[in-house]
């Protein structure tokens, strides 16, 4: 960036071409996400078969056999119905894990940016230490101490992402706290909490929203991994990771059982990632859509 053009941070040429690429990300991402949400909502009211119904005479049916679009598993349960209901678990875990991480991470990051000094040091050191605990490891610790289940998985994933949210919040807030309107608010006698909520948060909202969609897809991946290991969602609650765990023993005979739930995970994660990229580009054109 040369000194003659300090205000133009992004490169202006080819706007219409880049715009189309961005919109494609956004439209494809949004369509997938809406599709997954719709599937979850529909599955509350209707699935082709009872997803938990065990039927000995219908074990390992192929695709399309006896009215089962994706066939059945080794217990005779309908695979499509299980995948549909599994979307509820994925979204539920994603929403709660992300909520936990932002409810704690945003205030921590804001505190660090507002106070600076030793407060900032303590908060950031602490979040660095938490960051050394991958979600799977935190979940293993929690599950060993309490019990395996969706709740332990959600809490572990949520806690594991607190440092990410805190770091992003602090990074984005620091420059906002230096701005003139914050100085103006301070001369009005506004407190730092008020300034953070009223003036800083709206200005960093776009960064946080993008981060939240990325964390959402990471949370879905983490829940799938935990349920695959048998320490996440417990039977009979359907979960995509759980289905893959069940499929593992039969993968040599019927790879189909492992393909479809994995496909559901990958598609959902892809949807949220694309949506995140699309939202970032729409809200903040200065950011290159190259970082994950």
């Amino acid at each position: 960036m040369s000194m003659q053009e300090p205000l133009l941070i992004h490169e202006p040429p080819k706007p219409e071409q880049r715009g189309r690429w961005r919109r494609l990300n956004f439209v494809v991402g949004l369509s997938i996400v809406l599709g997954v949400v719709a599937t979850a909502l529909v599955s509350f009211l209707w699935t082709p078969f009872d997803p938990e119904l065990v039927a000995a005479d219908k074990r390992l049916l192929g695709m399309g056999e006896r009215g089962h679009p994706l066939g059945t598993d080794q217990f005779g349960r309908d695979l499509l119905s299980q995948i549909m209901v599994g979307s509820q678990t994925a979204l539920f875990v994603g929403i709660l894990a992300v909520t936990i991480s932002i409810l704690i991470g945003i205030p921590l990051g804001g505190l660090a940016a507002a106070r600076r000094g030793w407060v900032e040091d303590v908060v950031m050191r602490f979040s660095d230490v938490i960051y050394a605990f991958p979600p799977v490891l935190l979940a293993i610790l929690l599950v060993a101490a309490v019990s395996p289940g969706t709740a332990s998985a959600m809490v572990a994933i949520g806690i594991a992402y607190i440092p990410i949210v805190a770091r992003v919040t602090r990074g984005a807030s620091l420059s906002i706290f230096e701005r003139d309107f914050v100085a103006a608010a301070r001369t009005y006698g506004r407190g730092k909490t008020f300034i953070f909520i009223r003036h800083v948060l709206p200005n960093i909202a776009s960064v946080l929203i993008v981060q939240m969609t990325i964390l959402f897809s990471l949370a879905i991946l983490a829940e799938a991994a935990l349920s695959f290991l048998g320490i996440g969602t417990q039977p009979p609650t359907p979960s995509w990771g759980r289905s893959l765990r069940d499929a593992q023993t039969f993968v040599q005979i019927t790879p189909r059982l492992a393909i479809w739930p994995g496909f559901a995970i990958a598609l959902t994660v892809l949807g949220f990632n694309l949506l995140g990229d699309g939202v970032r580009d729409a809200l903040d054109p200065r950011l290159e859509s190259s970082r994950s």
Binding site: V129, L221, G230, P255, A266
Partner: protein, 312 residues
């Protein structure tokens, strides 16, 4: 001075992490003595086992005891087998660490050329293809990639073993062979992440003044990039590699379960199913310790790569 301070931060983090590992297990509900004896045990039996395990002492005392042993390499004994935990952890690390290093090597071999290629074709077809492929790689769970690789290469084509690990002493090549598919599964996901960082780091570098200077001296873009750019682009990439190492180790824990490898992950899961708290504590502490150590190494390596930082 910086090095000493950074090592101080590492030790502080290690202590904090050990408190977390110990705290989660001790403060949360669930009495290990009841877990071992079962819920139908008499209160007297539970009480005497609690005394035997030292659980009747205050938690800070228990922690101090555990931590002072742990830093001297003694992680206590397994509740289930009664054997010392530390030698078991060392044994398991002989699978987990080579797997993680193997996967990291593959990741760099894939993502560096791809990222540099994408950046050099910025906003052209090649860049778009790399970006679509990496977007797909990001969405795939590593353990699912592992399952698919097993189905294809082990079950159908029979090129690789589907599961198991012969052991380094038993068969070196057999052991390497057993790690190939799991390493690929991990590398698929990691490469997708790292490629995007390499791409943006190289793009960032290409906008720098010194690249412009090099170009004005008559170097082509790729000459300028090779001679001046890559070393600078490697700094942010190194950060991400360091930060991702934790994710890679966590991925190893999961992938070991797909390929039935006797690594740390398998040990932790066995520990959970047997309610062997000291084993889980010890294993988890070692993993976090490794991650903190890698972060320390990354921070110290910066200064070798970037002379500008040395004066601070």
């Amino acid at each position: 001075m910086y090095v000493i301070r950074r090592i101080g931060v590492f030790l502080f983090s290690l202590i904090l992490a050990s408190m977390l590992v110990f705290g989660v297990m001790s403060i949360l509900p669930g009495d290990p003595a009841i877990v071992i004896l079962g819920t139908r045990a008499t209160p007297e039996a539970v009480e005497s086992l609690r005394q035997e395990l030292g659980l009747d002492r205050p938690i800070p005392v228990q922690y101090a005891d555990w931590f002072s042993d742990a830093i001297r390499g003694d992680l206590g004994e397994s509740v289930f087998t009664g054997k010392a935990i530390a030698p078991q952890v060392v044994d398991r690390l002989k699978v987990t660490v080579p797997l993680a290093v193997f996967a990291l090597t593959l990741t760099m071999l894939i993502s560096f050329p791809l990222g540099v290629f994408a950046a050099s074709r910025h906003r052209q077809a090649g860049d778009a293809v790399v970006s679509v492929v990496s977007q797909l790689g990001l969405a795939v769970p590593a353990f699912w990639a592992g399952l698919m690789l097993v189905t294809l290469f082990a079950v159908r084509l029979r090129w690789f073993p589907a599961s198991g690990f012969p052991g380094w002493g038993e068969s070196f090549f057999g052991s390497v062979e057993a790690l190939i598919l799991p390493a690929i599964a991990l590398a698929i996901v990691q490469s997708a992440i790292i490629t995007r960082y390499v791409r943006s780091a190289v793009l960032e570098t290409l906008r720098e003044e010194y690249i412009r200077t090099a170009r004005s001296k008559g170097l082509t873009q790729s000459q300028a990039l090779w001679r001046h750019g890559l070393r600078n682009a490697s700094i942010p990439v190194l950060t991400i590699l360091g930060l991702q190492f934790g994710a890679l180790l966590a991925g190893t824990v999961v992938i070991e379960s797909v390929f039935v490898l006797p690594g740390l992950g398998k040990m932790l899961l066995d520990g959970i199913s047997r309610r062997d708290l000291p084993l889980v504590q010890g294993g988890a502490f070692v993993i976090v310790g490794i991650i903190l150590l890698i972060n320390l190494a990354v921070d110290l390596t910066y200064r070798l790569l970037d002379p500008r930082l040395r004066s601070h």
